[in-house]
Amino acid sequence: MAHDSSDRGFDLKAMLRDERFWKIAFQVITLVVVILLLSFFLGNLNRNMIQQGKTFGFGFLRNPAGFSIGESAIKYRPNDPYWRALGVGLGNTLTLVTAGIALTTLVGVAAGIASFSKNWLLYKISRAYVGLVRNIPLLLQLFFWYFAIYGTLPKPENQIHFFDLAYFNNRGVYIPWPGTAVLALLGIAALGVGAIAAYYLWRWRTNIRIDRGTGGLPQTLALASLGLGLLLFLTLGMKWTIPHGVEGGGVTGGLRLSREYVAALSALVFYTSAFVAEIVRAGIQSVTKGQWEAARSLGLQPGLVMRLVVFPQAMRVIIPPMNSEYMNLTKNSSLAFAIAFPEIYSVATTTYNQTGRPVEVFLILMATYLILCLIITLVMNQLNRAVQFKER
């Protein structure tokens, strides 16, 4: 008996001394604390909602919204339900974010490379741009673009145009566009296929060049004919609508980008690009000096040194932080509501104002942005895997 009890005591002590026990115990304690906190908050939420006479649920999404939205990618009328209104907001956010990511990449990389320019003025401006734009809140920059830039464009009566291809007035910008959404998607797909085909052709050509040491003229010809075919398809195969100025102001045809949209896009692109430029700059600087020298000693032109040797290596350093910049752009797109662009945050706050349902609306918002960020992360991780060092 006595032996038995002391044995048990020994067991307990051993258990207390065992790190494995503590690992499990600590996790259980953490879990319990988190669950307690959550149930405390949710219980309060429940009581507060009962006191305000509300019940949790998304049924309100089927009620008619009643407000109108300025621009929408999908069909929307004021008596459509709330979920459709929110869908319109999501569509607007998506158009803003996708165009924003594409343009930010271009502008940011250009600004980053410009800081290595031989031209003193360009170098200075690239640095000044980064120093200025990164240190002013985005909200103020949105106002700047909306009022100080696009607000000074002329009224529709004396709109300006660019070779009759694009029109500018203080209502927005009008550009040529494939007639329907299907055709636009087809065009983008064709461009994508063309780009992939061109890439493989180029790789093939380079391999041949490495193997034989001579130029690959036939491949260049193939590339050219591919490009020509693509160009023909894009110009003739699709029903482009070209904007036409109307006497006395206004534009018919083409795609209208509202002033809210272009201002939000410009502000987001120029703000995020300043950060991207710094990332690109750091990436290029991370390529060791020996690589530059080796490339130049092979007789490569300065432009080719950057394109063929330095930039591909810099990509490895550049891509991981780009993920968070793209995510920032996505999240910052919610600020476009300040200049009247009806993206999802704007529609969501109106919905909240009309229905008085903060919890449900917030959950919808949170889920939307989380999913968008998740998609970006997944794509960037794939890209990252592609450019990392292949250790052999």
């Binding site: 507060n48 031989k118 000096k289």
Partner: protein, 405 residues
């Protein structure tokens, strides 16, 4: 990673020595046709923009809205009778800033180098020439002098007592509470309700409190995400990723509307506090990622060496790993602070009278309706000055820490 700067082709301002202005321009601006074209285009766009801005600022803009409301922009509706408390606070901060500067620069041969003297003179001249409001402008001059004097003192002190840096950190820490006391009152001072905190004061306070309050949580989350315990790791990761996936403006909206819903029926914390809690919960996730990056940068050998000395996990973390990780993370944390400082503009959307919010109140004054361009430009300059100064400071600090390592 040591950033290697490629030679003159790549970076840095070109050398100016030995070139006449024409030769210099030819080399740096008009080296070939492409560069010449670029230069001309840039000059054209730039001068057009500058001309537009200049003609607006000098002829069309009506600037009185700024000096007449300067007090509002700085402190919001804070009672003018109690401005003395803000001045005292400013003096404390200036003294501490001077001391820290002096201590950090204790090994530099000349404290007041030519650039520093020029900078101080420029600030002094600016205060005299562009007085925001006459009476208070004169109080700014002694403050500048105070910074310089304390820097000299700090340098001497730093040389004599090498351990003084720790005490200065402590003083900064304590000054936060002194600041809260001076601003908010209590303990013998007249209370000032948080409703009357505003302007730049509230902007700075919200940003600093956001960073300070998120520190413990951010640290725990960073450790949790790298923990070997799966439950802890999953929970931390989930929190970090969820918060980082949501825009701040949605988070603040939640703070203002939903925090009262999550608390017992009838309790409503102060609005400024609600906003600060939301800011802190938000930035904790970002801080956690910064600290995690720092933790990853600490070589594994450090941890193993500590373990082999017989330190257990908490002690290894607290004494060996974290100090190094935090040191590495400092630039990232400063960067996060800068963005948090900019993000406080969103507080105006949820109805607080911080810098942008008080700007909107001023713009609603019938005397200044429609002066939005002047006000927003002024605000942009304030934000830029602060953020740029912080970025500059952080770069200097980074260099400093690098040489010590």
């Amino acid at each position: 990673m040591t950033p290697v700067t490629p030679n003159s082709f790549a970076s840095g301002p070109p050398a100016l020595i030995g070139l006449g202005p024409i030769a210099w321009a030819k080399k740096n601006l008009f080296s070939d046709w492409f560069n010449s074209l670029l230069t001309l285009i840039i000059v054209a766009i730039f001068s057009w923009g500058l001309w537009r801005l200049g003609s607006w600022a000098l002829t069309m803009a009506q600037w009185p809205v700024i000096p007449n409301n300067f007090g509002l922009f700085m402190t919001g509706t804070y009672p003018p009778a109690l401005y003395a408390r803000i001045w005292v606070l400013l003096a404390i901060i200036c003294a501490l800033a001077g001391l820290s500067w002096g201590v950090l620069a204790r090994n530099v041969s000349i404290l007041f180098s030519r650039n520093v003297r020029l900078g101080l003179a420029a600030i002094g001249a600016f205060i005299v020439l562009f007085p925001p409001t006459r009476p208070s402008a004169l109080k700014l001059l002694p403050l500048v002098a105070l910074v310089a004097a304390m820097a000299a003192v700090g340098r001497q002190g730093g040389r004599r007592f090498p351990g003084v840096g720790k005490w200065i950190s402590l003083a900064w820490f304590l000054s936060y509470f002194v600041a809260l006391w001076l601003i908010g009152g209590g303990l013998g001072l007249t209370r000032v309700s948080t409703n009357d905190w505003g302007g730049l004061l509230l902007t700075l306070l919200a940003a600093i409190s956001g960073i300070a309050l998120c520190f413990p949580l951010g640290l725990l989350l960073a450790l949790g995400r790298r923990s070997a315990l799966p439950v802890v790791r999953w929970l931390s990761t989930a929190y970090i990723e969820v918060v980082r996936g949501v825009p701040l403006v949605a988070f603040l909206f939640m703070g203002q509307v939903m925090i009262p819903l999550f608390l017992p029926v009838g309790s409503r914390p102060d609005r400024v506090l609600r906003a600060v809690i939301a800011l802190a919960l938000f930035s904790a996730a970002y801080l956690a990622e910064n600290v995690r990056a720092g933790l990853q940068a600490v070589p594994r050998g450090q941890r193993e060496a500590a373990m082999s000395l017989g330190l257990n996990t908490p002690l290894t973390l607290g004494l060996i790993v974290l100090p190094q990780a935090l040191k590495i993370a400092i630039p990232a944390i400063v960067g996060q602070f800068i963005s948090l400082f900019q993000d406080t503009t969103l507080l105006s959307i949820v109805g607080l009278a911080e810098l942008l919010g008080i700007g909107r109140s001023v713009l609603a004054n019938p005397a200044y309706l429609g002066r939005y361009a002047e006000v927003y430009l002024f605000l942009a300059v304030i934000y830029w000055v602060f953020c740029y100064a912080m970025a500059l400071g952080s770069r200097k600090l980074e260099e400093k820490l690098n040489t010590e390592r």
